[in-house]
Each structure stands twice: as structure tokens, then as C-alpha cells.
């Protein structure tokens, strides 16, 4: 178990390194740097000014040196202006250059400074992640029980009317992407087109306090796709379990149908959906990109959009690290959990 975890963390680190290096390379391509400068200065800046800015702010160094700066293994750049002022990566505006550390990268716990949000990235990402955490929490709370109930009900009697109805429902929801369901929900439930206006078509106020009115639609739109998907998986797994010999034996012994379902079938049927549910988490992370932008809920997904749109290099690096961590960590949990649920499988 210990070596397994160690290996996994090793893989996680390696993946994070590779991914960030790729992201770093791509964000530092010339056109992207130009975009960055224009978002910093003026969208109508001249080429000479762009070049001067890049030169002055350390963007024109070797890319590996800069990557090293970001990691915190290479010393931060400094620049002396004509008037003798010293600026640099590790020198915050207005502070004495003499006090500044030589290294300031993620190894030193410094995630950098966002060029879009003009904030230090560590705190920013935490804020945004906690907002997205709230959203994901409610999505999971809605999605998982609903999906499991639908899946079990559909799978316990394959081919029945209940199965057909619920399967149709799950196929429809899983084939509706969230950007479609989100828009449909807003039009139907939150606009004067239908006049229903049960909910708000925007979740901007949910950042200060989520409530039934402003949070239902984004949660539903995000959950619905997953509901259908997980329900399909659960149904398949349930249907398979229900054809097993031991289920027939239990039935023949005289255990009631519901007794069989709850006591014997359910635990075995839930093994496959567990993995699927864990894999939904990284998927949700991409889903929030659309939903948060659509509903103006300014969490992690929205931040990602802003970072990409403005070529905010360090913010994109931080976002990539978080994404790698979330994906690999949920995989890890799903592997370990799988072993607990299914004694036939052992980790190590």
C-alpha cells in the first residue's frame, strides 16, 4: 500500500511537471506574450512598446530559466531601469530590492501574481476553488443519490416499463450537454418568455450566499448530465448482478425481491458506479468552466476562462497544477476505494 501511494504521488508530480512545462511553453509563444502585454498596457500598444515591456519584465530570457524561476530553482530576474530603480520577479512593487529573496517559485510557496486579477495567485485560487467546491458539493449531493436510485430501479428488472422509462430519461439527460440544458433552464424557468421565473437566471449573487433561488439552475444543469451517465452505468451493473447465480439462489430460498435487491445485489452493483462517480469529479471540473461562465458564478472554471483569454501565464500554470492534482487524486481514491469494495482486487 505504501509503495503504491508513493508511486502514485511520483506519477502525480511527474505529470504535473510535464503538463506545466507544456503549458508554460505554449503560453510563452510570441503571439501569446504579445496578447499578455496588450492586456497589461493598452490593446492598441505599438510593437516597440511591447518589446520593451517584455524585455523589462524578464519575458525575454531562456524559457527553461524562466520555468526554473517559476519552480523556484532558478533565481528570479531583476531589471535596472535607466533611473537606477531595480525591479524584479521577487521584488514586490514599492519594497526594497535589498530585502527581496533570490528565489520565489512554487517551491518557496509563491504561486506568482495574476496579471488579469492583479492579485497573488495562491489566495486567488483558494478563493475560487472554495466557490467551485460549494457548487460541486451541491452537484454531487443532487447527482449521486438521484443517479443511483434511477440506476438501481431501472436495472433490477431489466426490460420492464420502469426500466424503459428511466433509461429513456437517462439517455436524454446524458445526451444533453450542460451548455444546452443551462440555456434551456434559464429560458424556461428564469425568464419572462414563459413567465415562470421560479429561479434566477444568474448565480452571481450565489457567491455571497447561495440559496434555492440563485443556485438551483446551475446545480441542476451540471448534475443532469452526470445523473444520466451514472444511472446508465448503475443500471448495467445492476442488471448484470441480477442475473448472477447467487441472486437466483437467494430468490429460490424465499428472500423477498426487495430483500434480494437491498441486501445482496446493491453492494455488488455499486462497485462499477463508484469508479464512474469518482471519474465524474474531474469531468465536473471541466463542466464548471461552461456553467460558471454561463451563470456568472466566478469560481475556478470561470477563472480558467479568464486566465486563458488573457494569457495569464502564472495563473494558467496554477490552474494546471490544480487540475492534475484533482484528476490524479480522484483516480487514486477510486483505485483504493475499489479495492475496499471488491475484495478480489488488491492494490500494491
Amino acid at each position: 500500500m505504501g509503495t503504491f501511494l508513493l508511486k502514485r504521488f511520483g506519477v502525480m508530480l511527474l505529470t504535473a511537471l510535464c503538463l506545466t512545462l507544456i503549458v508554460f511553453y505554449l503560453t510563452n509563444l510570441d503571439p501569446n506574450l504579445e496578447k499578455l502585454v496588450k492586456s497589461q498596457l493598452d490593446m492598441r500598444t505599438s510593437d516597440a512598446q511591447v518589446e520593451a515591456f517584455l524585455e523589462r519584465n524578464g519575458y525575454r530570457q531562456n524559457i527553461f530559466k524562466r520555468y526554473g524561476e517559476w519552480l523556484g530553482v532558478a533565481p528570479g530576474w531583476t531589471h535596472t531601469t535607466e533611473t537606477g530603480e531595480i525591479t524584479g520577479r521577487c521584488i514586490p512593487a514599492g519594497s526594497d530590492p535589498a530585502d527581496a529573496p533570490t528565489f520565489c517559485g512554487i517551491l518557496q510557496g509563491d504561486w506568482g501574481f495574476s496579471t488579469v486579477f492583479k492579485e497573488s495567485i495562491g489566495g486567488l485560487i483558494l478563493d475560487k476553488l472554495s466557490l467551485t467546491g460549494v457548487l460541486m458539493f451541491w452537484v454531487m449531493i443532487t447527482m449521486v443519490p438521484a443517479a443511483l436510485i434511477i440506476g438501481v430501479l431501472a436495472g433490477m428488472r431489466e426490460g420492464s416499463k420502469t426500466d424503459r422509462t428511466l433509461s429513456t430519461f437517462s439517455i436524454i439527460t446524458t445526451s444533453t450537454p450542460e451548455y444546452v440544458s443551462g440555456v434551456v433552464f434559464i429560458v424556461v424557468f428564469a425568464s419572462s418568455v414563459t413567465g415562470l421565473r421560479w429561479f434566477k437566471g444568474t448565480a452571481a449573487s450565489a457567491m455571497d450566499g447561495a440559496n434555492w433561488e440563485n443556485f438551483t439552475l446551475p446545480v441542476l444543469a451540471l448534475a443532469l448530465y452526470g445523473v444520466g451517465y451514472i444511472a446508465r452505468m448503475t443500471r448495467a451493473s445492476m442488471a448484470e448482478v441480477m442475473t448472477e447465480q447467487y441472486i437466483r439462489t437467494a430468490r429460490l430460498k424465499g428472500v423477498s425481491f426487495w430483500g434480494v435487491v437491498l441486501k445482496h445485489a446493491l453492494r455488488n452493483a455499486l462497485i462499477a458506479p463508484f469508479t464512474v462517480i469518482m471519474l465524474q469529479i474531474p469531468w465536473l471540473l471541466t463542466g464548471v468552466v461552461i456553467i460558471e461562465t454561463l451563470f456568472n458564478y466566478k469560481g475556478f472554471g470561470w477563472t480558467l476562462v479568464q486566465a486563458v483569454g488573457n494569457n495569464d501565464i502564472e495563473l494558467m500554470m496554477a490552474v494546471s497544477v490544480v487540475a492534475v492534482f484533482v484528476v490524479l487524486f480522484t483516480q487514486l481514491i477510486s483505485d483504493i476505494g475499489y479495492a475496499f469494495l471488491n475484495p478480489r482486487i488488491r492494490v500494491s
Binding site: P31, E34, K35, K38, L41, D42, M43, R44, T45, S46, Q49, A52, F53, A93, G94, V116, F117, K118, E119, I186, A190, S191, S192, R197, K200, G201, T202, A204, S205, M207, N214, T293, L294, N296, K298, W302, Q306, G309, N310, N311
Partner: protein
């Protein structure tokens, strides 16, 4: 009857004559140009209207209720050095604490704010700026001529990256050019003179009539010597009645009333306790959702089909303003085949501006004539509608040897800019000219906006016609996106910029407008009417002619 400026001196003769002229055979348009001119030369709004024998329209501010929180839908962008502001939205937030010397109003007048008034010599080479007495910074110190002088020096510092005020004040700058390699790129010696604690005098090396309008533009916010936008939340130095409580880029900016500061104009505005600028992104559908969810009280600017949607909402009112906001679809002359004047003229010949107005903005505006000068500008000369003749266009294109050339027209990805550009492409295709359309997202579009061989760009209004010509069509200007470089045009423009008398300037302007058209510089199809919506209970948040919103004017009606 004699008319006087704010300072009691008589109005210049040419302005008086102009008033007589307008009174005799005035239309709404010529009245408007007169008022802008008279106002720029120091008349109060009341005087300007009185010279025409009219009453100044009353401002509806009498029924304001004190207190309340107003939520305003608007993009929230990061603060920066005011000189380098590139979005009106930044200024709308900072206008809470950073005020301006002069304010440009929807009725085309200029109101002195941190200035008490100004005097311009008849030849427009000497400006005397009277600094308002009794204005205090919110750190308790006095606002004096020193502050005004320092800000003007700052505006004239061309070495500051992205300082767009330098273009507005270029007459004052000792610019480094090929002819003048030793230029300092700062203000010329002897231009700026502090006469006394509340008087600043500008001795211009050449006449310039655009300085007062320049001072009213949104990057011209007046800052304290210790002001630093990076610490604006902790130390919001300024003269205004509000201070920023929080500015979260892309999310929200909050202004709260500064209770520790006596605003110079106390009792005459700044009714609200709190103003929240909330960012609902770029998608108008989200603004509708915000309005329907009762999360905003007023909006920044509503365009196109969304005007009808907002108009259908209960409890919301519409505010329209005819402006010099426009779009240009221009070839860049530094790229073949657009270096050929006949190719450029053929492009303009093939499109009907009326159609562009209809398809681009659903008729919400007035047609323009490809000169980027319009009837809202004082020196506008009606040189007639541009010719529309698709057959001739095709013929000219063929003769110029570009008959088989495929024109790639680039535009930003949304709204009227895309629609109008699509309509241009469509009309060119109908004329038999090959066109490829490329649509770029806003995040990348602006990277090369001034360099695309053929693309569309939106332009904000400027009070005077010569201003925009100087900014966008003079050889070598940073914002010269059409690559237009014409000696006669440059010389005529320089002359026009020195003529305070509108009638005399019109002569030059006519030539400039003709050159714009004869050289096929640009397709400039229409002037936009801008619209926003506010709740019925909201006042002081109507759409401004140049996208300026004034926190101190916003209020709830009593």
C-alpha cells in the same frame, strides 16, 4: 446684447457671429455645433443657449433621494495609471474618487469641474485655466494650480507606455521624431506656466482647439502626486465624494461614500451611499438574466436585438443618445493590393451605407459618408452621400488588376461589429468581388487591430471632427489603422487644428473630408445611437454620449 464667458470677459467675436448665423437659419444640428463651440470657448450652458435665444434644458436632478445602493451592470477591469486607461469602464469606477477638470455632457456642452473656467485666446494658442477654489483632496490638502500643472506634465510624458493622453496633448510635446532626434518626449519648455496658486497658463507652440475636449476624455482623471493605482483601495487619494471599498476584477467593484471628506460640490450630487458595479461578462443574455433576476438597477450599454428584449421588461426605462460612435471597415494601405487607391475606392463603391445601417445595427443610428466626420461635429460639411455603384466597383477592381484577389475581412466575434462586417462582405460578394470572412475572438482580435490588411474597428466619439482625424488618419499615428499617409491631408489637418473659427475651419474640413473619400481611406457607414436601460426608479444613469457614467449623478428618485 453682449454675451460673456464664465469669467466675465466677452465671448470671442467669431462665436457671437456664429450664434447670429445659427439663429437666422439654424437647424438642430447647427445649434448643437454652436453649443459645443461656445462651450469650449468658455460660455456656460445657459449663456450658450441664451446666445441662440433659447433656454438651457433643465437637468433632472431635483428629485433625487439621498441614500441607497445602486447596482450597475458593467465590466469590472483592473485599475491602472489613468493616463493609460483603455476602457471607459475603468474610468467609470475611478470617477468615484478621481475627478476631471472638465466634463463633456450629453447636450454637447462642457461643464468645468475641477476648473472654475478657462479662457482661450481667439487664435487658440493661449489657454488660461482657472483652477476651482475650495477643492480639497481627501487627505485634507488643498487642490491647487500645482496639481493641475503636474497632471498636464504627466499627460505630456510620451515615454509612459500606453499613455494615450500624449496623443491628445501632442501640440505641447517635444516629440522625438526623425526631424527632431533630440526630442525629450516630454512637455516643451515654456509651455506650462503656473501664474498663481489657482491659475495655470498654457502657451502653445501652435494653435490647438482640442485641449478642452481632451481634458474631458476619460483618461484625463486628475490624480494626487502620491496616488498609486496599485494601492487605490488602501489609499484612494482623490477629490471625489466616493472611495473604492473593493475592486475584484471580473466580479465586482464597490464605491462607498467617503464620510471623512467634504466634497467641493457637496449637496449637488453624490446621493447614493453605495454603488456596486457588477460584472456579468460580455454576453448580453446574461445581462437580461441579471435584470430579470432583479440583481441590477441599471445597465452600461445595450445593443441590437437586446434593446427589444429590455424594452419588454416591466419597470425598466430606455435612454437613447445620438453619438459619434461608429465603426470603420478599412483596408490598410501598407498591404497590397490596398496600396492602390482604385482598389480602395472600388471597395467603398460596392457597399451601400444605408444597407449597412439596416443590417448592422437594425437602423439604430444615422448614415455616415465614409469620412469619419459627422453632423454632430461642429465643423462638419455635407459633401453628399458616397457613390454606390457595384458594377463600376467590379470594373475598377478588375482594371486595378485585383479582380481575382480574395479579400479577407477580419472582425471581432460578436454583436454589431460582426454583423456590419458580414454585411460589407455580403455586398462585396454581390458586386462580384471575392471575399473571405475571418472572425476573431475579442481576446486576440486587438493584438493586431491596427495592422490587419482589411478589418473593422469600432471608434468612440470625440467632440470635434478634427480630433478623430488627428488621432486615426494622420501619418504615423499609433492608432492610424488604415495606414493612410498623405502629405496634403496632414498639412491641411495641421492647419485646421489651428483654426478656432468654425466657419473658417469648415473650409479646411471640406478638403479633408474630400481627401478621405477620394483616397478611399475607409468605409464608415453609420453613426450609432447608443442605448441603455435603467429601472424606472433610477436617475442620473442615462447613457452618456461617450460611455461616461458619473457616480455622483446616479440616484434613486424620491
Amino acid at each position: 446684447m453682449k454675451f460673456f464667458k464664465r469669467n466675465g470677459k466677452p465671448m470671442p467675436k467669431h462665436v457671437v457671429e456664429m450664434a447670429e448665423e445659427v439663429k437666422k437659419n439654424g437647424t438642430a444640428v447647427s445649434r448643437r455645433e454652436f453649443i459645443t463651440t461656445a462651450s469650449a470657448f468658455g460660455a456656460t450652458a445657459v449663456t450658450a443657449y441664451a446666445m441662440l435665444g433659447m433656454k438651457a434644458p433643465a437637468r433632472a436632478a431635483a428629485h433625487a433621494k439621498a441614500g441607497g445602493t445602486l447596482r450597475f451592470q458593467q465590466e469590472v477591469r483592473a485599475l491602472k495609471d489613468p493616463r493609460t486607461y483603455d476602457w471607459s469602464q475603468i474610468a467609470n469606477v475611478s470617477r468615484g474618487w478621481l475627478e476631471y477638470l472638465v466634463q463633456f455632457n450629453n447636450d454637447a456642452t462642457f461643464t468645468p469641474k475641477l476648473l472654475e473656467g478657462w479662457e482661450i485666446s481667439d487664435d487658440a494658442t493661449t489657454y488660461v485655466l482657472k483652477v476651482r477654489k475650495g477643492v480639497k483632496w481627501n487627505d485634507g490638502s488643498d487642490f491647487t494650480a500645482e496639481d493641475v500643472a503636474r497632471n498636464i506634465e504627466g499627460w505630456c510624458d510620451k515615454s509612459v507606455e500606453g499613455n494615450s493622453m500624449a496623443a491628445r496633448f501632442s501640440t505641447l510635446i517635444d516629440a522625438k521624431t526623425d526631424d527632431n532626434p533630440n526630442g525629450t518626449d516630454k512637455i516643451k519648455d515654456g509651455v506650462l506656466e503656473i501664474v498663481d496658486s489657482h491659475t495655470v497658463k498654457l502657451n502653445l507652440p501652435a494653435a490647438d482647439i482640442t485641449l478642452i475636449p481632451g481634458m474631458a476624455d476619460y483618461p484625463a482623471a486628475i490624480t494626487h502626486k502620491d496616488y498609486n493605482f496599485e494601492t487605490a483601495i488602501e489609499k484612494p487619494l482623490g477629490t471625489g465624494p466616493y472611495i473604492p471599498e473593493a475592486i475584484e476584477v471580473g466580479v465586482k467593484a464597490v464605491l462607498v461614500k467617503n464620510t471623512n471628506h467634504t466634497w467641493w460640490n457637496e449637496g449637488n450630487g453624490a446621493w447614493l451611499d453605495r454603488i456596486e458595479f457588477i460584472d456579468y461578462g460580455q454576453e448580453p443574455a446574461a445581462w437580461v438574466a441579471a435584470a430579470e433576476s432583479d440583481e441590477v438597477d441599471s445597465t452600461y450599454s445595450i445593443e441590437g436585438e437586446f434593446i427589444d428584449i429590455f424594452a419588454a421588461l416591466d419597470g425598466w426605462k430606455r435612454a437613447d443618445i445620438d453619438t459619434a460612435s461608429t465603426i470603420v471597415i478599412r483596408p490598410n494601405q501598407n498591404n497590397a493590393p490596398y496600396d492602390n487607391v482604385n482598389v480602395r475606392r472600388a471597395l467603398a463603391l460596392a457597399v451601400d451605407n444605408n444597407v449597412l445601417l439596416e443590417l448592422g445595427i437594425a437602423g439604430l443610428g444615422i448614415t455616415a459618408n465614409n469620412t469619419h466626420v459627422g453632423p454632430m461635429h461642429p465643423e462638419y460639411v455635407d459633401i453628399g452621400a458616397p457613390e454606390y455603384n457595384p458594377e463600376k466597383a467590379k470594373q475598377m477592381m478588375d482594371e486595378a488588376g485585383a479582380g481575382d484577389f480574395e479579400h479577407e475581412i477580419i472582425s471581432i466575434d460578436a454583436g454589431y461589429r460582426k454583423d456590419t462586417t458580414d454585411a460589407v462582405a455580403d455586398q462585396l460578394r454581390k458586386a462580384g468581388i471575392k471575399v473571405k470572412r475571418t472572425v476573431l475572438p475579442g481576446s486576440t482580435f486587438w493584438n493586431d487591430w491596427a495592422k490587419y490588411p482589411f478589418s473593422s474597428t469600432n471608434w468612440n466619439p470625440r467632440p470635434l471632427g478634427v480630433q478623430v482625424l488627428a488621432l486615426a488618419y494622420r501619418s504615423g499615428e499609433a492608432w492610424n489603422e488604415s495606414g493612410f499617409a498623405n502629405k496634403e491631408f496632414d498639412d491641411t489637418l495641421t492647419e485646421a487644428l489651428a483654426i478656432a473659427d468654425v466657419e473658417k475651419r469648415k473650409v479646411k474640413m471640406q478638403r479633408l473630408m474630400e481627401l478621405m473619400r477620394d483616397e478611399g481611406v475607409t468605409i464608415q457607414p453609420y453613426w450609432r445611437t447608443l442605448t441603455n436601460f435603467s429601472k424606472d426608479t433610477v436617475g442620473g444613469a442615462d447613457h452618456h454620449i461617450s460611455y461616461e457614467y458619473y457616480p455622483h449623478e446616479m440616484h434613486f428618485k424620491a
